[in-house]
Symmetry: C2
Subunit: 464 residues, 2 copies
């Protein structure tokens, strides 16, 4: 419990509207988008500037309570759940775009700006911010940086971290620091900008972000390819890359996903096929024409059952939107959805699909698989019911077996969702005790008192 | 002094040919390519495997002497000079390319492979490793990673670090760790792969590197533009980028550089002009044609005095080679060359040139400026004589003033050469005492005993 005096002190610093302390309001800030995980914070603050973040952090330090930074709470690994209570520091009222620099091709924004708002603002100036996480309509750019979010276009254009040029942040001791700048090259000292990316709010609180922009592609073409078995779809992905074509997007949906999506959005996806690939190529018109032809040639060679070219921008957008709906569509028909984030080197795509099918049968589970096939980044999702203890046990056994294979193939337990709380036990299996030891020392270097995200830093041994 | 017993122990572990201990042989390993800096090591070892690196490090730990890792010694900030003596651990006999993975578009190599050898090996398989530091004929890929080396093509393609997928390294405690992998996305825990990049051998010894490859551009076109004053060349660079054209290369040489290069390579560069830009566009033929036309349009608008299109590949290669010779060409005519590595946001290019001219006049110095104009990364080089104390004092004052401006404009004291010994005093001016404090804590997290590069970690206060 936080005393009235401390609440008043926070109100004095941040303003009445920016401090939440009633139990019913606190309840909703104890969740993110990860099923089955929640913990009520003791207090929630909404700082409106870097200075207010510092002020809130100083008060928390003085009182000795933990601080959990948060954006929109669209995270999928429980990284913004205040598992030890204390203060949730919510950055989504810091939502101003501070500058679009057309000469240096950069945008500087506060951490709480919604990703799609930022992308649209720069597009209005004829510039392009490529990373497009499926949650872009609600996620914040600060959250994207903290998770190093991917997206549909990341195959060709790279992930959030590839666009970060500078970060202004508040360190756990309350001091501020800016790392990086608008120079496109900078090797002055250790690159802790890059260390902060994907650090999930455990090392510092990011308040302002400068991102690199690029000229937008002149045109694009979207196509769908249908397959009568999913391994063939995986093979198509590998062979397109091996043909030295890097599409901007290469997304997969399996039969379960297709049917859930079609139930939801009703755009005429074929319910009987085993899998589809949503492929987009973009760039100069001549490149688009050649790459489109090259992709179609590979698709015919591997025997896709049908290839459908989007007739226009609206249809292409509709297809991408349908793909972005995959998780929501499954959540609609299933009480719980356990989604994972397994990523393998692309050459293991077909094997990964086969393994998912094999394990789903072994554990008698309904699994819908979709994801960023071109990146080797899949989201096998178990449709389940939290209340069914036996089913949940089988679901966890499924992922346990799957990750064993993924790691054997040189893959990772998280391609884009982070470790958070949900995957702590898998992390050590990937990076080993030596890796965990170095991570612990890095955490201590930044946050010796363990004020940020205690009890849910990646490698915390304690259960909550 | 290192005892005969310890030398014998090292010989037993590494083999006789891989241990150097005679004073005359040690002398040459006390230099890198930075003028005015040298310190003789006590012993030099050439490990031939990761295990041998571990063995050498363990012996050094036991004896309590410092270890300085080194590649070819082409570094330009003194990062591989063993300023506290001890062991130089030279990786250039670990020079095997271990795998070219055509399915996943990766190459894995030992740290001592020469950069150009690696680039040629992957090109023979129809793949492309873009980063091309000017020193690529002699530099090692391990050294490139440790400095996050840039190069001529980095404007469009990014720097070395943008291609690093995995690093195998030996930590200061002698344990090995692999960070990253062949998955194109990986957010499992802190990204210490990215922290190791540009850490200048102060955190770990990199032994194997996996790099991302891309399909090579189909074609390219090289052109030269001449200018009657250098600020106009700077303006041309900004305007080409503002026109949303990202050439693969946009290099500048001023009059002093042009004349030194022409004296050396005699390819008919015009001696009377104030500056030239070497510009290359690459990609699909249609893109090359359009971008080339777009670049020429801008060049005419800003009033370049002449535009010359390379007639063929040989001429283009000759021009790039001439540019790569810039430093050697100046070193040929001047007893000493003090080269710096100032980088500014691109919009400050013209001002930076003006400032360099102003300061050269103020301090009565001959300064040749060349570099990666498209990246805002310049190498103003003072032609001087180490033995002339007054001139050296003026040269240092020149750089001091210049960096004040560079930092005022949001630039960096090192775009690609690193901090090493040469720029320690500038680092704190850039990152502040808070930044230095975090860097010190990171160093301690990796290397609590300070065995790697002691006395020349970026922020060491001690002089040597």
């Amino acid at each position: 419990m936080i005393s009235k005096a401390v609440i008043q002190e926070l109100i004095n610093e941040l303003g009445k509207d920016n401090v939440i302390s009633t139990p019913e309001d606190l309840l909703v800030l104890g969740y993110d988008a990860t099923p089955g995980l929640h913990h009520r914070p003791d207090i929630v603050v909404y700082p409106t500037s870097t200075e207010k973040v510092q002020a809130a952090l100083q008060i928390a330090r003085k009182q000795g309570f933990p601080v959990t930074p948060r954006g929109s709470g669209s995270g999928l690994s429980g990284g913004s759940i205040p598992v030890k209570g204390g203060m949730v520091l919510c950055l989504n009222r810091m939502n101003n775009i501070l500058e679009i620099d057309e000469e240096n091709l950069t945008v500087t924004a506060q951490a709480g700006v919604i990703t799609l708002d930022l992308a649209n603002a720069v597009l209005a100036k004829g510039l392009f911010y490529p990373p497009d996480p499926a949650s872009q309509k609600i996620s914040t750019i600060g959250g994207n940086v903290m998770e190093d979010a991917g997206g549909l276009r990341c195959l060709k254009y790279g992930v959030t971290g590839d666009y970060v040029m500078a970060l202004k942040c508040v360190l756990p001791d309350g001091s501020t620091i800016t790392t990086g700048g608008k120079s496109v090259k900078d090797v002055a000292g250790y690159s802790f900008k890059d260390l902060l990316i994907s650090s999930e709010g455990t090392l510092a609180i990011i308040t302002e972000i400068t991102l690199r922009l690029i000229p937008p592609p002149q045109t694009n073409q979207t196509m769908l390819a249908y397959f009568d078995n999913i391994e063939t779809a995986g093979k198509a992905v590998s062979e397109i890359i091996a043909a030295k074509i890097i599409p901007s997007t290469m997304e997969i949906m399996d039969k379960t996903t297709i049917n859930c999506v079609e139930d939801y959005v009703k755009i005429g996806l074929p319910r009987e096929i085993a899998a589809l690939l949503l492929i987009e190529v973009d760039g100069h018109p001549a490149v688009v024409a050649e790459e489109s032809a090259g992709v179609q040639k590979v698709l015919k060679q591997v025997k896709a059952t049908e290839i459908h070219i989007a007739a226009n921008k609206e249809e292409a957008l509709g297809l991408a939107t349908a793909r972005r709906m995959a998780l929501s569509a499954m959540a609609r028909v299933s009480p719980s959805t356990l989604m994972e984030d397994a990523t393998v080197p692309r050459s293991y795509m077909a094997q990964t699909f086969a393994e998912i099918e094999h394990l789903a049968a072994k554990y008698n589970l309904i699994v819908g698989t979709f994801g960023h096939a071109g990146d080797g980044n899949l989201h096998p999702t178990v449709l389940c019911d939290e209340r069914d203890t036996d089913q949940m046990k089988r679901a966890h056994a499924f992922f346990d077996d799957l990750y064993t294979k993924v790691l054997e193939w040189g893959g990772t337990v998280s391609g884009e969702h982070g470790i958070g709380i949900a995957k702590r036990e898998y992390l050590a299996r990937q990076v080993g005790s030596g890796g965990v030891a170095v991570m612990k020392r890095i955490k201590t270097a930044f946050d010796p008192d363990g004020i940020l995200n205690p009890g849910k830093i990646f490698f915390d041994d304690q259960e909550f």
